[in-house]
């Protein structure tokens, strides 16, 4: 007999060389990732690092282009969400998959209700739910409708649901995003209860303090690639941040014009407050300036831009344009004053997809083309054709439906809406989300061009290289507040993340 060798830890789940690409984007290239039974494995990386793609592949929602996935050492094919569930993989997304009008027990056992004859066996349903909740060590009102529960409780319902299908790996995507400090503590207790029973948890989060509290191991992704995996105790938060951003800035940002003189702000915000969204935000933007806004998801970037542009009401605070306070009862007032909002979701908020490029572009300023009550189509055509040429919107014709354009060209159409009548202040929310690299560069050039023309730009983005590469000054938001403003050239990826995550000293 040879020496007793400690059995190599066979991970429950292992991925080898998994790749996935979308048109124009390599979302994952040859990544490795493994999960051992009973561990908490933190998966970290910036936006666009490939975490969501990986989660979707494990959930069976999409399929990898290449690579192998093993469960308990045997290769499997996760062809559908059902297949993933049968392999013991459960995902808890930020947006819960619960039926709000059904009660807790009905949600936990959804699709697997015990039956007696034709009817649902309600006593058994409740008993089984209670058993699952007991395993989790939580108490929930099991006959209460889910919509009446707090977010933290709904999350427990999701976890219970995962457990009730005998999940061996539970993937939690930003589980603490909507929780209070106390609730995060409860969540960690539940996670520890799960791991004691051999269930593994993949914990996806940006919050360093949480990761170092709960995780056994940490894997870092960057730009769709696997960087490294190691025991949490061997790292410091600074190490992880360095691994997350460890790359040179992409070179495709244009050269920004020099800082404009900062004597008279074009737009001033004072004490902007909207409960639960933004908290006492004040800022100034000068003509010809690009002010970047960074922050984690839910930090209030979008809410701030929407409030400035009248898209959401602003209960408290003031927006001043060239020194005079604006009365913003709705987008109409903002547009009339010369403020424009390029929304983060162009399909649901920026465009009427079933209308032509021409009709979309002229929508905010149709009055320019109306004479004696009639919209002059020829004038519309010549104005929009001119803009389309300037912005290099690639479309067979401006009569093409917006629906049929690529993401980058759709974004240019949204931009064109606000260039028809020169907007003074343009708020960009995620200006290049979901568009390819070439179109990104064009959008950046357009932004610089607008600045040179004297417009002010506020740009919120969750892509760090973008806010770093395109901002003259950079404000960082956290929990609804501006926590720091970097002057030009001062910000680094690490320092921005520190302020955004609240780990800055």
């Amino acid at each position: 007999m040879t020496d007793a060798v400690a059995p190599a830890v066979t991970p429950y789940l292992a991925m080898h060389g998994v790749s996935k690409s979308y048109p124009g984007v390599q979302a994952l290239s040859g990544v490795d990732f493994d999960v051992r039974a009973g561990e908490v494995h933190a998966l970290v990386g910036e936006n666009g690092a490939g975490k969501s793609t990986l989660v979707k592949i494990l959930a069976g929602a999409i399929q990898a282009d290449s690579g192998e996935i093993d469960i308990e050492g045997k290769p499997v094919h996760l062809s559908s969400p059902k297949a993933a569930e049968e392999r013991g993989i459960a995902v808890i997304y930020q947006e819960f998959n619960l039926v709000p009008s059904l009660n807790v027990a009905e949600n936990v056992m959804l699709g697997r209700e015990p039956v007696k004859g034709l009817a649902v066996d309600r006593p058994a349903l409740r008993a089984q739910t209670l058993a699952v909740l007991e395993r989790l060590g939580v108490e929930l009102p099991i006959v209460a409708e889910v919509r009446t529960l707090a977010v933290a409780q709904q999350q427990m319902v999701e976890i219970a649901k995962a457990l009730s299908v005998n999940a061996r790996v539970i993937i939690m995507d930003e589980p603490s995003a909507a929780l209070t400090q106390d609730e995060v503590g409860r969540l960690f207790e539940i996670i520890r209860t799960l791991t004691k029973q051999g269930v593994a948890v993949v914990y996806i989060s940006h919050r360093m303090d949480e990761i170092f509290t709960i995780a056994d191991r940490i894997t870092v992704f960057r730009d769709g690639r696997y960087v490294e995996t190691g025991d949490a105790k061997n790292y410091t938060p600074d190490d992880i941040i360095r691994l997350m951003v460890g790359r040179t800035l992409d070179a495709h940002f244009p050269t920004l014009p020099p800082d404009p003189p900062r004597d008279k702000p074009q737009l001033s915000v004072r004490g902007a407050t909207s409960p639960g969204r933004i908290d006492d935000v004040s800022l100034d933007v000068y003509p010809g300036e690009i002010l970047g806004i960074a922050g984690l998801v839910g930090a209030g970037r979008t809410s701030l831009l929407r409030a400035i542009c009248g898209a959401d009401p602003l209960p408290k605070g003031e927006v001043r344009l060239e020194g005079s306070p604006l009365r913003l009862r709705g987008p109409h007032d903002a547009i009339a004053a010369g403020l424009a909002l390029v929304t983060e979701d162009r399909k649901s908020q920026g465009l009427v997809l079933g209308m032509s490029v021409r009709e979309n572009v002229t929508l905010p300023h149709l009055e320019l083309f109306t004479h004696n009550g009639r919209v002059d189509r020829r004038e519309e055509i010549s104005a929009v054709a001119k803009l389309a040429a300037e912005l290099r919107i690639r479309t067979p014709s401006i009569e093409q439906l917006a629906r049929n354009l690529s993401g980058g060209n759709q974004q240019k159409v949204v931009l064109a809406k606000w260039l028809l009548e020169k907007a003074k202040v343009i708020c960009f929310d995620e200006p290049t989300r979901g568009i390819d690299v070439g179109a990104k560069a064009e959008i950046y050039e357009l932004m610089v061009g607008l600045c040179r023309g004297g417009a002010s730009i506020i740009m919120a983005s969750s892509e760090l290289p973008e806010v770093l590469g395109m901002s003259m000054r950079l404000a960082v938001m956290r929990q609804g507040r501006i926590v720091h403003v970097f002057a030009r050239g001062e910000a680094t990826q690490e320092s921005v993340i520190r302020f955004a995550t609240g780990t800055a000293a």
Binding site: I335, S348, V352, L363, T370, G373, V375, A389
Partner: protein, 342 residues
């Protein structure tokens, strides 16, 4: 740039041509059908008298469907128009009976009919705009209430109208000299009013800012709002238009029947929706046209007329009409999918 504009112009023309081809196709198909029906009915169908008859019969539905088109393009619905026909009808009849100067009575009655219809439309639209209630609910409530008020006002009995000037709006003839050339006594007033309404509505929807906003709201209400469109006012506007046109349609009906009848207009809301849908307007909003709606109303009118000439039993007529609506919308959907797949 000039090239781009020219290309855009070409594209518009091409689009125009495409829809022209479609319309030509429909017309050719219709002509073939009409000739066949004409043969089957031994020439009764295309007799000038019968053609005028069809147009006069569809006038009420075409006007209701025109208003309905505005509402449906914003992704709404107006279930109250049938009851509003009854309500405004009896109110107009009551007005005519109460004023003794005939010309003044006609004038006041017209104002009452259209204003009450428009006012009811405003009541339909306000909760939709202010509180986000589904239009299905608000107009359903109005449908019940307006019908009830119509019965309360008349105690359930019709009110006779003996004002000759008013009744001429329903059965009078215009341009008798021109009519004689084609061997008809003249053009019935309801047809003239219907054509005027269709032309005006077509202009408003196709050529004005308001019309563009109606399409934008139906296509993507949030994008419309963020583009600075006063979404609430436009939506309120379409319900007022629909209600006011219900008042106008009611006027034609009451004048033709020489009475205001609280039972009138039963099921008209569904007839108008049918015309809109057969005319290619999407219930999801954002797409449609008045021209399409007119063709839809015409098709339904022709169908009824043909079935009458062919002595189809009235119960069977409903079955045929239902089937035609289903097939028409199905064909339109298949056509769209075919175009989308190319």
């Amino acid at each position: 740039m000039a090239q781009a504009a020219a290309a855009a112009g070409d594209a518009l023309k091409r689009k125009g041509r495409a829809s022209l081809y479609r319309i030509v196709g429909i017309i050719v198909g219709l002509v073939v059908l009409l000739v066949a029906v004409n043969v089957a009915t031994h020439g009764d169908f295309l007799a000038p008298g019968n053609v005028l008859n069809i147009l006069r019969q569809i006038a009420v539905n075409a006007i209701l469907a025109t208003g309905q088109t505005f509402v449906i393009i914003t992704a709404g619905i107006d279930l109250s128009v049938g009851s509003l026909v009854a309500l405004t009808g009896v109110l107009m009849a009551g007005t005519l009976a109460g004023i003794h100067t005939p010309w003044l009575a006609v004038l006041v009655a017209i104002v009452v009919g259209i204003a009450v219809g428009g006012g009811a439309g405003a009541i339909n639209g306000t909760p939709v705009v202010k509180f986000g209630l589904p239009p299905f609910i608000t107009t359903l409530a109005m449908m019940l209430m307006a019908r009830g008020v119509a019965f309360m006002f008349t105690n359930g009995a019709p009110i006779e109208i003996d004002n000759a000037g008013f009744n001429d709006l329903g059965s009078g003839l215009l341009l008798p000299t021109l009519g004689r050339l084609v061997h008809i006594p003249g053009i019935p007033v309801p047809i003239v009013i219907m054509v005027a309404v269709v032309v005006a509505a077509s202009f408003v929807l196709g050529q004005t800012r308001f019309g563009r906003y109606v399409y934008a709201i139906g296509g993507n209400e949030e994008a419309a709002r963020l583009s600075g469109i006063a979404v609430g006012r436009v939506k309120l506007g379409v319900y007022i238009i629909s209600g006011a046109l219900a008042g106008l349609a009611s006027l034609l009906l009451a004048a033709r029947l020489n009475s205001g009848i609280p039972q009138s207009g039963l099921g008209y809301e569904l007839q108008s929706i049918a015309a809109v849908v057969v005319g290619g307007t999407s219930l999801m909003g954002g797409r449609g046209s008045i021209g399409g709606t007119f063709v839809g109303a015409l098709l339904i009118g022709v169908l009824y007329n043909v079935m009458n000439l062919l002595n189809v039993q009235s119960y069977a007529q409903e079955v045929v009409l239902g089937a035609v609506i289903l097939v028409a919308v199905l064909l339109d959907e298949l056509r769209k999918r075919y175009l989308a797949a190319r």
